[in-house]
Amino acid sequence: MTTPVLAAEGLHKSYRLGRTEIPVLKGVDLQVLPGEMVALLGMSGAGKSTLLHLLGLLDVPTGGAVRYDGAATTGLSAAARARLRHRHVGFVFQFYHLIPELTALQNVLLGKMMHRSVLQYLGERRQVKQQAIDLLTQVGLAQRLRHRPAELSGGERQRVAIARALMTAPRVILADEPTGNLDSATAEGVIELLFQINQERGIAFVIVTHNEDIAARCHRTVRLRDGRVVN
């Protein structure tokens, strides 16, 4: 039996608002197999983004566990979670979330520069830089390497964000409404790119979306309602 690259087991998450505890996730179970594309659907407030944050170890569940390649992540320190996230997961956000002071190339390079000392990085710079250029070329931005986010269109920014997510060769990419801020033509291009990456690199995807068409193209659809998986 194949071990899931990412699994959620009985995930609970609640937030405290004054004296009131507001449950957002009420025992979510989810398994994502290697190379699988999973669409996560649900109404606003169903807990999609919260689930994505828990899966990406950006937040800590109130109950239950997240497993990466079968290994539990419960009880890890913030630094250990960061290192695991760096190795295992890539993020693509609705609003791109690029560093505005850096060029497209530098934004993509950033992932590789983490957890490397200045001297280590300088030793590998030529090779790492070429890798980043190749990725940006693959997403169609070979001519935009030196441009800052403010000088790029929405679609181009999202492509830079995808290249950045790919830079650390993650096992799974968590995409939070990746086309939510794009016009339909650009969104189509970005979705095509994600499917292409999935096919070529075998990277698993969890895509949060409201778009039924996109969900229909994925290998599997998971619906969230009131903090629970309903199918």
Partner: protein, 482 residues
């Protein structure tokens, strides 16, 4: 280990936010000011110490009882190992009154204490020949090329038996001065014989009172007359006429502004101990001592103190080295420097606060970026390092710039001061006020290293606070920050 991503982001953040230049400028100005002001103060204090040292003897026996004679002390101290020479001194206080033609005639005896022709003075009676062996006094005297020459001071007196003559001015000079002051004189200078003992005043007083050598002036003072046990004592006013014999300049301003040097025998005579009278004593208030070169003054001081206190009635006598003789003054100057350093330290604190404020603001504005970095996989330490690196860069550039500016400023302060004065009439360090030919500067290596290092460490400390705040941010909250 500094992550490459922290380094890149720190540089980009600093370059894109010009407000950080404020922090660099603040640190640089604080370091520059601390180096420059300290150098000027150190130079100034060094000059003051040199000036004070010049007016002080190696050791001074003081706090002697009234009516102490010199002979017994001289015999006791002269044999102490390490004592090279000694000289008697007699201090007294009075007011000097410059005789002008207007002051003569019917109102000749009237002294207007509110007029510019009178001033308080500390009379220091010296034996010129002995004094020359214990202090640098002969170096203070303003010689011919500087307008005045104390008469006969450097020459061996012709009449050893009459030490009063040793500060006399030549008869012709006194004749000229008395005639100009409107006092009765013979028709020819050659018929005049010197009448008054000589008196030396500082060069500043010479200018402020428009004195000329040979000019007559009176010293007005008082003494107690009566029995040694106090019976029948009464205050007796003294008015003694002197002739202005020459000027001195030690650069120790308090000394120069208050001191008049007179022959010790004249002062003894004024105080009722004329050496021609029966029962008079060789009255002194202090004994100035020169220590043999190479000997430890502290050791000699202890020996002298022991010897002096062994004499009858002198158990309370003190023996002071040159620092102790000027303790209050030197402490006051040192205190001024300490106060200035406190003010400058406050400037540095303000600069540090500026760095803190700019970095704190940067962390607030970069909250979203912190969330992004978390999502990419940066550790809290890596995120903190980004902002700490900003502080390191600000501190390093500011400290080094301040150091370079400080050293250059001490090098160029005098040319700049001259240029300001010549072109705009401005002076950073008024010569008239401080009586110095140029702004003194003395760079101290320890201070030169210590100030930039302290500024850098302080910057690091204040940068650590926002860096810690950034490192402790929760990724989800940072990502959703608007």
């Amino acid at each position: 280990m500094l992550q490459a991503s922290s380094c890149l982001l720190a540089v980009r953040y600093l370059r894109s936010r010009w407000v950080n230049v404020l922090g660099i400028v603040g640190v640089a100005v604080a370091v520059w000011a601390m180096i420059l002001v300290r150098a000027v103060f150190s130079g100034f204090i060094g000059n003051i110490q040199d000036d004070v040292r010049r007016t002080s003897t190696d050791l001074l026996v003081t706090d002697l009882p009234h009516d102490t004679g010199y002979a017994s002390l001289r015999d006791a101290i002269a044999g102490v190992d390490g004592v090279a020479a000694l000289a008697p001194r007699l201090r007294h206080f009075g007011v000097f009154h410059v005789l002008t033609p207007q002051a003569q005639g019917g109102a000749a005896q009237f002294v207007d204490f509110s007029s510019a022709s009178t001033a308080f003075v500390q009379l220091v009676g010296i034996d010129p020949a002995a004094e020359g062996r214990v202090s640098a006094q002969t170096q203070w005297y303003q010689h011919e090329h500087e307008r005045l020459k104390p008469q006969d001071l450097d020459a061996t007196p012709a009449d050893q038996a009459d030490p009063i003559k040793r500060l006399h001015v030549p008869a012709w000079l006194e004749w000229q001065g008395r005639r100009r002051a409107g006092l009765p004189v013979p028709t020819q200078p050659s018929l005049h014989r010197t009448l008054s003992p000589g008196l030396l005043l500082s060069l500043d007083r010479l200018y402020s009172h428009h004195l000329e050598p040979g000019f007559p002036l009176d010293i007005i003072s008082a003494r107690f007359d009566g029995q040694a046990d106090g019976a029948g004592k009464e205050t007796v006013a003294i008015r003694e006429r002197f002739t202005f014999a020459g000027a001195f300049k030690t650069r120790h301003r308090i000394f120069d502004d208050t001191t008049a040097i007179v022959p010790i025998e004249t002062l003894r005579s004024m105080l009722g101990h004329d050496f021609h009278d029966d029962g008079s004593i060789d009255l002194i208030t202090d004994v100035a001592i020169a220590v043999v070169a190479g000997q430890d003054p502290a050791v000699v001081q202890a020996r002298v103190r022991q010897r002096v206190r062994a004499l009858p009635g002198l158990q309370q006598a003190n023996v002071l080295d040159w620092v102790q003789q000027n303790q209050v003054f030197l402490d006051a100057v040192g205190h001024e420097r300490a106060m200035m350093q406190i003010v400058l330290f406050v400037v540095m604190l303000i600069a540090a606060f500026l760095v803190y404020a700019t970095l704190h603001m940067m962390v607030a504005q970069k909250t979203k970026d912190i969330g992004i970095l978390c999502a990419i996989g940066s550790t809290p330490r890596g995120i903190g390092a980004t902002f700490l690196t900003c502080g390191i860069v600000i501190g390093l550039i500011g400290s080094l710039a301040g150091l370079v500016l400080g050293v250059l400023s001490t090098r160029w302060i005098n040319p700049v001061n001259d240029w300001l004065f010549e072109n705009f009439g401005l002076e950073m360090f008024p010569r008239r006020l401080f009586d110095l030919p140029e702004i003194p500067c003395r760079l101290e290596p320890a201070w030169l290293i210590g100030v930039p290092v302290a500024a850098f460490l302080l910057t690091l400390l204040v940068a650590w606070l926002p860096a810690r705040r950034a490192a402790r941010m929760l990724p989800v909250e940072a990502l959703s920050y608007e």
